[in-house]
């Protein structure tokens, strides 16, 4: 829970349980995935809708409050299903970098998250027609390999207990070796990940933050130690694991706070087994930040960022200092060629 809203009123009233309301497109209800999800939500009120956009894209919603009691929206996705990776996202040297969005919005509530600027709602949309997505990917794979991020606009492992989508993706990846999947997460979904086959073309990219940063800005997320448990379990099972120190937030005593994080990782994770690591400073499109500032005034959104070509971030000097610090610490754990930074730094 964050400071911006009150979780409990003076007389004990609280927000509803997450997913106590499920809005379902009539077309979505005929999909077995929708039935499975509804079976896992006994007691929820199911409200039929014609088109998810009529609900999700309504103007003037209280997205921050909706995050406290998110509704679930079950829908059928229309093409296109694949989107080119955005310039602010790292491509890890992959040429055909795309992402797909079979779930929109995330159960966590990070104050810096770009989804707040991207979507007008705090509710979560789950698209149940994955076969259509798989068909488009199969078509693309006949032309070239694909590096596909499937957990950008959500946290797929965090929701896997409800959706079971990870095993669908794993089956599809196993059958398509020229497809490289990235599953980004802040979750501690050890059992969901461990239940999957070990695949060289399925990367689990776990985002980690220092505990003080997590406590202040990453509401409802698992602790650093819980996330590192997922990392270590996945590594011990021989999985491809990426560690993401991104976004790094410019907090007071940055080097002390993040220095502790790097030390903890070095001491507890067999870093030589990591596929690679990434580090980046907080950056966001100017349009998204404008929206976030008006809807969620907080330390993150109120910071006086510098606008460079439509992207807000810390000023160049700060970015260099933060990334140099991260690089120097990461180089103690992993070869430099496996370190990816959000901006190029002079060699050193």
């Amino acid at each position: 829970m964050n400071d911006y809203v009150n979780s409990v009123s003076a007389d004990g009233t609280t927000f509803r349980k997450a997913f106590s309301r499920v809005y379902a497109e009539e077309a979505a209800l005929s999909y077995p995935r929708a039935r499975k999800i509804l079976d896992r939500l006994p007691g929820s009120t199911v409200i039929p809708i014609a088109n998810y956009k009529n609900l999700f894209n309504r103007p003037n919603q209280s997205a921050v409050l909706q995050k406290q009691a998110p509704a679930l929206i079950l829908a059928v996705q229309k093409p296109p299903f694949l989107y080119p990776g955005a310039a602010v996202c790292q491509d890890f040297g992959e040429r055909h970098f795309y992402y797909t969005s079979c779930i929109r919005n995330c159960p966590y509530d990070c104050e810096y998250c770009y989804l707040q600027g991207m979507y007008p709602s705090g509710d979560i949309v789950i698209f149940v027609n994955m076969e259509d997505v798989f068909a488009e990917i199969t078509e693309v794979l006949t032309k070239h390999p694909l590096y596909l991020c499937i957990s950008f606009d959500t946290d797929l492992p965090a929701l896997d207990g409800l959706t079971g989508f990870l095993s669908d993706w794993a089956r599809f990846a196993a059958a398509n070796p020229s497809l490289l999947l990235e599953v980004r997460t802040k979750s501690a979904a050890v059992s969901a990940v461990s239940a999957l086959p070990v695949l060289d073309n399925m990367i689990f990219a776990v985002t980690v933050s220092p505990e003080p940063v997590r406590e202040r800005f990453e509401h409802r997320t698992p602790s650093l130690s819980a996330r590192l448990k997922l990392v270590n379990t996945a590594l011990s099972e021989g999985r491809q694991v990426r560690l993401c120190f991104d976004p790094m937030i410019k907090v007071r005593d940055f080097e002390t706070v993040y220095g502790e994080l790097f030390l903890t990782v070095r001491e507890t994770v067999p870093t030589e087994k990591l596929r690679d690591v990434s580090a980046g400073t907080f950056r966001i499109s100017a349009d998204y930040l404008k929206h976030m500032r008006s809807h969620r005034p907080c330390e993150i959104t109120a910071y006086p960022y510098t606008n460079t070509d439509g992207v807000y971030g810390y000023d160049t000097e700060n970015v260099r200092e933060m990334l140099s610090f991260a690089r120097s610490r990461l180089m103690e754990m992993i070869p430099e060629e496996r370190i990816f930074l959000s901006e190029e730094l002079p060699k050193g």
């Binding site: 007389d11 003037n60 409050l65 006086p304």
Partner: protein, 273 residues
Amino acid sequence: MLWFFTAIHPEAAPVLSHYAMKRTAGQFADIFRCDEAILVLTGSGLTHVAAAVAEAVTLVPPGPRDIFINLGICGAPEGYAFGECCRIHKITDAVSGRDFYPDLLADSAFREAVLTTYGKPCEAPETLADMEGSAFFETAVKAVPPDRIFLYKIVSDHGDTDALTPQAVTDLIGKALPGIIREAEQYASLLPEQDGLCREAKAAVDDICRLLDASVTMQSEITKLALYFELRDGNAAERLRAFLKEEGLSDGQPIRRKEGKLILERLRQFCLR
């Protein structure tokens, strides 16, 4: 503050009596007020409701914790008991076919239901049925977000309204009213207060703007920096006063704008420490 919107006087009577409201101005609607609540008597039918809601929010801009409540009787299919009060989670406009969704973010003590709004009385409703709900929601949502729009409908008939007296309507509303007020007030207490700077911080910002001979752009930047202080540390006024002292500007003598711009840059650095 709670805003009540009712179509007819017998629906309004229990609210007026509960709050001891007084009538104020209103061209398209009768508007009643007291310190805690507003009641807008909209009249029946879609056009009347839309005009009344629009007029009310123009005359009295809603606050960040205000709740809009549409309160009225409705027809219902069998399965809903006479006098049952329901909270609406979906409204269908029978004429346009459009659907609207109030966000129910906190639990309701009342049964949730779908409402269909018709242009004329409906004799055999398949859901709860009224003549105002869709127009109320469609207009209200331009002024407040959908989680602050509550629709309560009290079942008064199953398609046959002949036996319904004004007193019976008043009695039905009066019975449900305490629970409705309680629910709305509880939700309001979960909502954030108005964001922004406290009075002391605003005064400090005004002082800095005056001392730096700040242009409109500079004033905007100083306000944003103050807001950052406030949201990060919760002590914008104190930090800004400390900055003035550090810059030797506490004696209250303004400086030239050119120099003010340099000091503003130092304020920016000070803010990021």
